[in-house]
């Protein structure tokens, strides 16, 4: 069996009496680019909050790189890079200062931080802009900085919560390619929540969730086969349309 970057096993979660996640089970292997597809309110954000430990869970249902987040939360969080849906950069600081702040939170400082910042920014063609204030950057560039930040401490799993929303086609494409390239080349695993089907490429793992339940997992052709449809969009619609259940 391949090594797992993320293991979610029979995860349940409720807001008060309202259960939003039901027995959620899925895995992501090392080096796998995995997409989480689901309509609004499917439970994607709740799942992300649980993986990042912003919310707590009762049982030991989530493992990051083999580390149980309930048992060793800090060790587990060190394996994780996150790009949240909303921009979480400090607008009044420069690109470099934002990254230095993150490096400090990850326990990286001095020369090592400088090298890692340069490495990540160069990979995303942002090194030239390192001294610009984040406020002056466009949406696509802000996203690239956030990706650089999430990858700086070399995590095993990268979480991306709809990272391309509101970006132009070129920015979206470059982000999609960059993440896929990293998964192939470095063994990084990614869990990417999106509504945009064209971001999913051949060979990517897909998990469709609807109303807090996993409706299907597999690659594009498996999902199309299972739903007897001709495209990923149609397969997604078939899986998340209540009448066709």
């Amino acid at each position: 069996m391949s090594e797992l970057a993320l293991e979610v096993k029979q995860l349940n979660f409720s807001y008060g009496k309202k259960q939003v996640l039901h027995d959620l089970t899925f895995n992501i292997e090392v080096g796998q680019c995995s997409f989480l597809l689901g309509p609004n309110g499917a439970g994607k954000s709740t799942l992300f909050s649980l993986i990042t430990r912003l919310y707590d869970q009762d049982k030991n249902n989530i493992k990051l790189a083999g580390i149980d987040i309930k048992v060793e939360p800090l060790k587990a969080l060190a394996q994780l890079g996150v790009v949240f849906q909303q921009t979480t950069l400090d607008l009044d600081l420069s690109v470099r200062q934002n990254l230095l702040y993150h490096a400090a939170l990850q326990g990286i400082s001095g020369q090592k931080a400088k090298v890692l910042i340069q490495q990540q920014l160069e990979q995303l063609d942002m090194f030239e802009r390192q001294n610009e204030l984040v406020r002056q950057l466009n949406g696509g560039h802000k996203r690239r900085v956030e990706i650089a930040r999430a990858l700086m401490h070399q995590p095993k799993l990268l979480l991306l919560d709809e990272p391309t929303v509101g970006l132009d086609v070129a920015s979206r494409e470059s982000i999609v390619q960059h993440i896929h390239h990293l998964c192939e080349q470095t063994g990084l695993a990614a869990l990417w929540a999106t509504h945009l089907m064209d971001e999913v490429l051949e060979g990517d793992q897909i998990t469709v969730i609807h109303q807090g339940r996993v409706k299907a997992t597999g690659q594009i052709d498996k999902l199309m086969q299972q739903t007897k449809t001709a495209s990923l969009s149609q397969a997604f619609f078939a899986l998340t349309n209540n009448r066709s259940k």
Partner: protein, 264 residues
Amino acid sequence: MAHYWFALWGIVFRELFRFVKQKERFLSALVRPLVWLFVFAAGFRAALGIAIIPPYDTYIMYEVYITPGLIGMIQLFNGMQSSLSMVYDREMGSMRILLVSPLPRWFLLISKLLAGVFVSILQVYVFLAIAWFYDIQPPVEGYLWILPALILTGLMLGALGLLLSAFIKQLENFAGVMNFVIFPMFFMSSALYPLWKLQESSEILFTIASYNPFTQAVEFLRFALYGQVNIEAGVFTGVAFVVFLVIAIIGYNPSKGMMKRKGR
């Protein structure tokens, strides 16, 4: 251990840098107590006669009396403002980046608190420097003695802000809390008038003010500014700090506080 130091440094640096960049914040933090000192105190000088009370050994001007209260006010506003920024950060998301870093939450929150205290101490010293030219000239050693007191009172008031931010979900609610926390705390304290004056008017107000942590913080600062230690006020402030901090940490704990109430 080095990880903790780097993180603390990063959090303090960020807060300081943001503060320096936000010139309006620095200015308003300074203008507020100065208006009280130059305008309010001047107007009230005639209305309020101050008897000789410790730590003062002579009759003092009203401006001299309210200076420690205004120092407390700077720290109170700063504590509330940094918690306001935490509510904002939480709504905007940058708080998430802090909370998902691989460090214990209590440590992250205390670091955030220390960063805020550091900023408030800078504000206080600038205020004291301006006040010096206005003839408010405590003994030189007072400027040194007040530093540890400022750290403790700043921590206590910051922890109060932290506690509030843990239980406030949106900014709109926070505006109300500012009115319900800052003003009552400030007016029901010894910042503007000695407690015995308050006792003459109302026994109930006197009792409330005596147990108000802000009163204790102001008295601790008042004595420190004159090179003396008010042990009772110091202990009260210290205990209040610990209580506020513990509740705040529980509030930010994913399995116990705010997060628990939000989801489950």
